[in-house]
C-alpha cells in the first residue's frame, strides 16, 4: 500500500518502502529541492522541514511515518510569510533548513521574531559548511522580524560582510 504524503498542501503517493527516509521521499517523489541531504545523520539540519507544524530533521524520520501528515518545506512558505525574504533565488545547502527551523519555532512562540538573541541561539541547531553561517543566520533573524510581505531589500544593508564580497 503506498504512503500518502501531504507536502505543501499537495498530495503525493510515494513508494512505501519502510527504509526510505522522509527526506529521500520528498526529494525523489514530491518535487522538493529545498531540503538537502547534508550529513544524513541528524547533525547539520540542512534537511529541516515542518512535520505537523514542528521543525524536524527529515533524515531522521521515515516516509512511512508521515502517512497523511502535513509536511511543509521552504517551497511551501506562504506568500506573506516574513521568512520568504530570507530565501533568495538560489538555495545554499543550509539556508532552507535554517529558514524552516525558524518557521517552526515561530509557530510555537509568536514573540520569538522580536528577540534576535533567542532566534540566533535557536539557529545554532543547524550547521553551515560554507562559512557564511553568521551572515545567513543574520538574514533569517532579520527576515523573521519583517512585516508580512516585505522583501529582503526592505531591511537595508546587512550589518555584516556582504555575501558578494570578495576577499580576504
Amino acid at each position: 500500500m503506498p504512503v500518502r504524503l501531504v507536502v505543501n498542501e499537495n498530495n503525493y503517493e510515494v513508494d512505501a518502502d519502510p527504509r526510505r527516509s522522509l527526506l529521500a521521499a520528498l526529494r525523489a517523489d514530491c518535487e522538493v529541492t529545498s531540503a538537502h541531504a547534508g550529513c544524513a545523520d541528524g547533525t547539520c539540519g540542512a534537511c529541516t522541514v515542518l512535520v505537523d507544524g514542528d521543525a524536524v530533521r527529515s533524515c531522521l524520520m521515515l516516509a512511512v511515518q508521515c502517512d497523511g501528515v502535513a509536511v511543509r518545506t521552504a517551497e511551501g512558505l506562504t506568500a506573506g510569510h516574513p521568512l520568504r525574504a530570507a530565501l533568495p533565488g538560489g538555495h545554499e545547502l543550509c539556508r532552507p533548513g535554517l529558514v524552516m527551523l525558524a518557521a517552526g519555532a515561530m509557530r510555537h512562540d509568536g514573540d520569538l521574531a522580536a528577540d534576535p538573541g533567542q532566534m540566533s541561539r535557536l539557529l545554532a541547531a543547524n550547521l553551515c559548511t560554507c562559512a557564511d553561517h553568521d551572515q545567513i543566520k543574520r538574514s533569517v533573524v532579520r527576515a523573521a522580524s519583517l512585516p508580512p510581505g516585505a522583501s529582503i531589500a526592505a531591511i537595508g544593508p546587512s550589518d555584516g560582510p556582504s555575501p558578494d564580497a570578495t576577499g580576504p
Binding site: P18, R19, A55, M61, L62, L101, G104, A105, A124, A125
Partner: protein, 281 residues
C-alpha cells in the same frame, strides 16, 4: 548506504505494540532520533519496526499525588514548559535544555532515551538521581525496576526484546530542594564529556537529602554516594560543596579511563552543579 530490509507496523494500541514485540524481533520506534540513524547507518538491523507514534494512550503526562508519570510518547520538549511544578519541574527544565536541540527535542522522547541507555545521555542519570521507577510491559504482564536495576551497561538495559518501557514514575522532590546541572562538552553539537545532575534538600539550615548523579562517567548512570553522604547532616556551605566535589571526583566508576583530567572535570562539574542547587534552595 542501503538500509537492511525491514517491516514496519504503525501500532494503534498498547496491546498491538506488545503483540508485535512478542517474537523479540522488533525495535520500538518512538522519537526515532537515535533509532532511525542506527537503522540508516546499519548499526541496527531490526527485522521489524513497531511505530508507537499513533498510540494516543502513550502521550500521557500526569502529575498527581507527588508522582510524575511519564508515558512513552512524552517528547523532550514537554519538559521545557512549566507543565511540571515544584523543584522536580525546575530540575527537569534545567536538564532538558541541554538535550540535542529544538528539532531533536520536538521528536525525541524521555522513555526512548532511557531505553536507548546512551552513556552520555542526561535522562538515565536523572532517573537514577530522582529514584525513578521504570515499568516494563511484556507478555507476562508488568514489572517495575529501579534505575539501578534497569541500566546494565552502555546501550544495555534489563528490558527484554519482547518488552516495552511503558511508564516511568518520578517522585516529586520535597520543598526546600535545589537542583543543579553542569556539563562539559566540546561543542553544542557533541555529546557531553561529563555532567553532574544534583538535587539537594535543606531543612532548618542542614542538608537532609542529597542526590548527585554523574553523566558519561561510567558504563551506567553513576551516583556519587560517598559525596552525597558527605553533604547530608551538615550546612550547605561553600566548604561542604568543595568537600563533596572532592569526594565525588574519587569515584571508582570506570577505572579504564579515570585520568586526572577526568577526575578534575568531575570535581569542577559537581561543584558547579551544587553551587547552582544552593541558589535554588
Amino acid at each position: 548506504m542501503k538500509v537492511a530490509a525491514m517491516d514496519y507496523v504503525a501500532a494503534r494500541s498498547p496491546d498491538e505494540v506488545l503483540a508485535v514485540l512478542a517474537d523479540g524481533q522488533a525495535s520500538v520506534l518512538a522519537g526515532g532520533q537515535s533509532l532511525v540513524l542506527e537503522v540508516t547507518s546499519r548499526a541496527a538491523q531490526p527485522r521489524r519496526l513497531v511505530d508507537i507514534n499513533r498510540v494516543a494512550e502513550f502521550e500521557v503526562l500526569d502529575q498527581t499525588d507527588g508522582m510524575l508519570r511519564v508515558a512513552p510518547l512524552v517528547r523532550h520538549r514537554v519538559f521545557e514548559s512549566d507543565a511540571i511544578d515544584g523543584p522536580l519541574g525546575d530540575l527537569l527544565r534545567v536538564i532538558v535544555r541541554h538535550i540535542g536541540h529544538p528539532p531533536i527535542r520536538a521528536r525525541g522522547t524521555m522513555l526512548g532515551s532511557l531505553a536507548y541507555a546512551h552513556p552520555a545521555a542526561e535522562w538515565p542519570v536523572a532517573a537514577a538521581v530522582l529514584g525513578a521507577e521504570l515499568d516494563l510491559a511484556g507478555p507476562d504482564g508488568r514489572r517495575t525496576l529501579t534505575a539501578e536495576q534497569f541500566f546494565t551497561g552502555p546501550f544495555t538495559t534489563a528490558r527484554r526484546p519482547e518488552e516495552l518501557l511503558v511508564e516511568v514514575r518520578l517522585p516529586a522532590l520535597p520543598a526546600g530542594t535545589g537542583a543543579g546541572y553542569a556539563e562539559h562538552r566540546r561543542s553544542h553539537a557533541k555529546f557531553v564529556e561529563g555532567a553532574a545532575i544534583v538535587a539537594v534538600t535543606v531543612a532548618d539550615g542542614l542538608v537532609t537529602g542529597a542526590a548527585i548523579g554523574l553523566v558519561n562517567v561510567g558504563p551506567c548512570p553513576v551516583r556519587a554516594r560517598a559525596a552525597e553522604a558527605a553533604l547530608i547532616g551538615g550546612p550547605f556551605c561553600d566548604a561542604a560543596i568543595i568537600e563533596a566535589a572532592r569526594v565525588a571526583a574519587e569515584i571508582d566508576a570506570d577505572n579504564r579511563a579515570m585520568t586526572a583530567t577526568r577526575r578534575g572535570a568531575i570535581r569542577m562539574l559537581t561543584r558547579r552543579a551544587l553551587t547552582q542547587a544552593r541558589e535554588g534552595v
